[in-house]
Symmetry: C2
Subunit: 207 residues, 2 copies
């Protein structure tokens, strides 16, 4: 039974799309365009009451949340060697994913989806104004935290790399030049050079 | 070599403290009181540039982020059986942890730490006003998502339970009665009945 990725163009579901390509998974994509509100429709909410993409339908059931989906794809495709070995190395991978989902993605979301946390139009505008600086601070932290080697965890590509690659999109969307962050810029270039990334970007834009 | 938990009283480091007690780990606690700004001091920032607790110093290096720390504790203490078996069950555990750190904890943080995302005092006040409703929405989602069985993942206690137990603190801090959420209330009662939770709560308050 193949995997099914519920995806919306330009969303963070891109990371799963890249990793599915990278590991050579058998999968199909269902588009749930956020622009038309499809993620709030009854069909999608029946699948995932949180109303967010990505969702991955697996043989065993339905998975949500990028860190869980990405590590599951890596764990179930061991030949692709995208899951580091050992409890500590895996914990470091999860720490990076937690930072990306709970701090970096959240910093970005304040530019677009401030209505999750405030109501007053002036408050939403204040969040929007502050979002680029918040995301830049995250990018500075990542520059400090990333180990040498070029990939998110060092010398070897892992399930964290497609997730880190979203930085390229997030910074671009807030008009922050990624060139200010040499490690992130080199990472984005290395990601774009991979056929799996290119295939996923093409599919993402078709969605 | 024992583990060292960097902790602040009343913070989300309580989850790791509970799990360390639960698995019978050999560990020491270093208090980094947020109230005195110790988390912004050079000693702690040298350990963890993000300036957040919890941090777990392990034989192999330093770990940050609750989801990573909790699963590492479970994985390195297999006799305690706090890590579910199998790729899909583990992915579901990680999905719950990701929701707790990226959505639930973030919803709570808008009541106290809005300055991460806005500057205008009126915006911070708007966030504070809206935070209880945001956290209530998360609690409703958790009530829907939690499987039967009483624990975060079902019938068996896991590394997710101490993290879910923070809901009890977060709701209480925003004056939202946990009794409105029967599964969460029963979970909090079951957690409080465990000697490990009691020992951790006593240590937390001493910090």
């Amino acid at each position: 039974m193949p995997l099914t990725l519920y995806h919306s163009k330009g969303s963070s579901a891109l990371a799963a799309l890249i990793l599915l390509e990278e590991v050579g998974a058998t999968y199909t994509v269902v588009d749930v365009p956020i622009a038309t509100g499809a993620h709030r429709g009854p069909a999608f909410l029946a699948l995932s009451p949180k109303g967010r993409v990505p969702v991955l339908a697996c043989p065993e059931g339905v998975l949500t949340e990028n860190p869980a989906i990405l590590e599951y794809i890596a764990a179930t495709h061991p030949a692709a060697a995208c899951l580091p070995a050992g409890a500590f190395a895996q914990a470091q991978a999860r720490a990076l994913c937690a930072y990306l989902c709970a701090t970096v993605h959240v910093a970005f979301a304040h530019a677009r989806r401030g209505a999750r946390w405030a109501r007053d139009p002036a408050a939403l505008e204040d969040m929007r104004r502050m979002a680029p600086a918040g995301l830049q601070k995250c990018a500075h932290n990542l520059e400090e935290m990333l180990p040498p080697g070029g990939w998110a965890l060092g010398a070897q590509y892992s399930f964290c790399d497609p997730y880190l690659f979203l930085m390229d999109h997030w910074l671009g969307a807030l008009d922050v030049p990624i060139a200010e962050f040499p490690k992130l810029a080199a990472h984005a270039r290395a990601m774009r050079a991979r056929p799996a990334t290119q295939a996923a970007l093409t599919r993402d834009q078709a969605g």
